[in-house]
């Protein structure tokens, strides 16, 4: 199993746990969006061998935690 497929699997497992409804408070919406963009950038950097798996995982967890609010 390649590393990239592994990441995808972790990502898909994580998003399965996300709730259907999230806080629509403005600050939370903005932060959610920003953390998603940050996670996206870290993933691109990871694919270019410029970020560690730990950074990718932390960015994912931050975004997922924000999505659960």
């Amino acid at each position: 199993m390649s590393t990239s497929r592994n990441l995808k699997q972790i990502f898909l497992q994580k998003i399965k746990t996300l709730p259907d409804q999230q806080s629509q408070e403005r600050g939370n919406r903005i932060m959610r969006n920003r953390l998603w963009l940050e996670f996206d950038k870290v993933w691109v950097r990871y694919n270019n061998n410029k970020a560690l798996f730990q950074e990718w995982e932390k960015a994912l967890n931050n975004w997922v935690n924000m999505e659960t609010l």
Partner: protein, 562 residues
Amino acid sequence: MTFEENGIFIRATSGQEKSKCPKCSHQRRKESDPCLSVNVDEGVWHCHHCGWKGSLNKKVKSLTIPKPIVKPKPPKTDLPDEVYQWFEDRCITRIVVESEKIGYENRWIKFPFYKNGQVVNIKSRTADKKFRQSKNAEKCFYRFDHMVGMETIIITEGEMDALSLVQSGFVNVVSVPDGATAPNSKPSDLKFSYLLSAEEHLMNAKTVILCTDSDGAGQHLREELSRRIGREKCFRVTYPDGCKDMNDVLIQHGEDKVQDIVSNAHPYPIDGVVMIQDVEDEAIDLLLKPDHSGLSTGWVAVDPHYLVSPSEVTVITGVPNMGKSEWMDALMINMVQLYGWKFGIFSAENFPVKHHLLKLVSKFADQPFWGDDKMSEETARASMSVLNDHIKFIGTQETNVTIESILEQARILTYRYGLNGLVIDPWNTLEHKFGDGENETNYISRVLSQISAFAKMNELHIWIVAHPRKMDNGIDHKPLVPDPYSISGSANWFNKTDNAITVHRHKSDEEDYAGIHVHKIRFQYKNGKPNFGKPSKLKYNLKNGKYYEYIEEFKTDIFAEN
């Protein structure tokens, strides 16, 4: 006798060094502590722990009985053609070589040091950069006679650089005799003994241009020379890319460029003084930046009057229990959510930290942490996980927290995590240590200057929550809105901070809102204008501790039939 024979092991070949003491270090608990100070030049040592001291007798003897200064004979100046060619390769012409009376003997090129018309020293070098000087000769600048009576003196790091400047038309050029020392070495007075004989001429000169090499050693020499000569009269040069000294410039760009560099020498920067040319590019960047206003607070009603910019200090005051700390927390959470800012918080009134954390989580998750509809554990944990990256509590373990300890912790956090904001809430819980003969006004003035400098240096926004000195009541017996002049201490709270805000609850039969009174904004072009007497209105939600935009209720029912 050597240092090693005395059990002292050092790396330096000159200057001062600290080392382990052979007498006591092995018995000490902190064995690695370098308690022995060794002066390599003078050959003496002293242990600061056990008091052991001694000297290399030979060396001291040689210091105490100075050897007579020997004047070498002028070198033979009939140079073979290959030596002229060697100089030509470095763009130094035969005319300059001859006028400088450079000699040659047995593969050594000899640079005579003339002082008062007599040769006092000779520095010799080979083509492969081996150097030596006459034994027991006097230390003085190379071309010493050319600095006598000059208003402007150019100092270089080596003889070839000096000759490059002579080649380019400069006369008032001298060179240090021993080149530069290693960047991390401590300057020894012996190394700079050549300055003694030139003291009068350097003092009388109006301008000294330092043309040392651009490498670490050259910069080290430049720093030390400027410090000793006086930075007010020192200028320094900037070499073009690919050149590290004047000879490189002469070889690569020619004489015109050398003249250009010397005539464009910059005054040596003086601590605390900024010249326009130093910040010109940064100011133009600011001008060209499309939007250089501060960051939104997250409240539409507040933004026209107060925006948040880095490197500033804001003081927040208000009558106790009217929500200044709550508003500060809400602002902090807004900055975290909107911009991902990172904060250091000293909040003594909210200790223990767990209470404060729950209050912040409640604002962050937009859910209460108490009552029937309080947030779930999962929500709290998810919020804390996100906030963990953004909020650090400081000053929590000490009983007597001083402003110095807060700033030190903030400095470390800035280094480790890149803080954007620091909150000190409230000011009166800090332990204030007044200096000798210092009153409260002077103390606050001094500390606010310190905090302001810290904010600028670390690009932090610092909020200080401070209680007012006294609460004046209005005719309705309700407390009046305090302004920063009412803060316990002095008017410096208003004068020395960048922004000043009062949070005041306006409650009457008709309305109930939190008023954000902005009294002062220093940089109004980017951070908004104060709202004198017309506060920005926000609605406080007691359940989750958040502030929302205030929507005024209609006082009359416009749909009611007349």
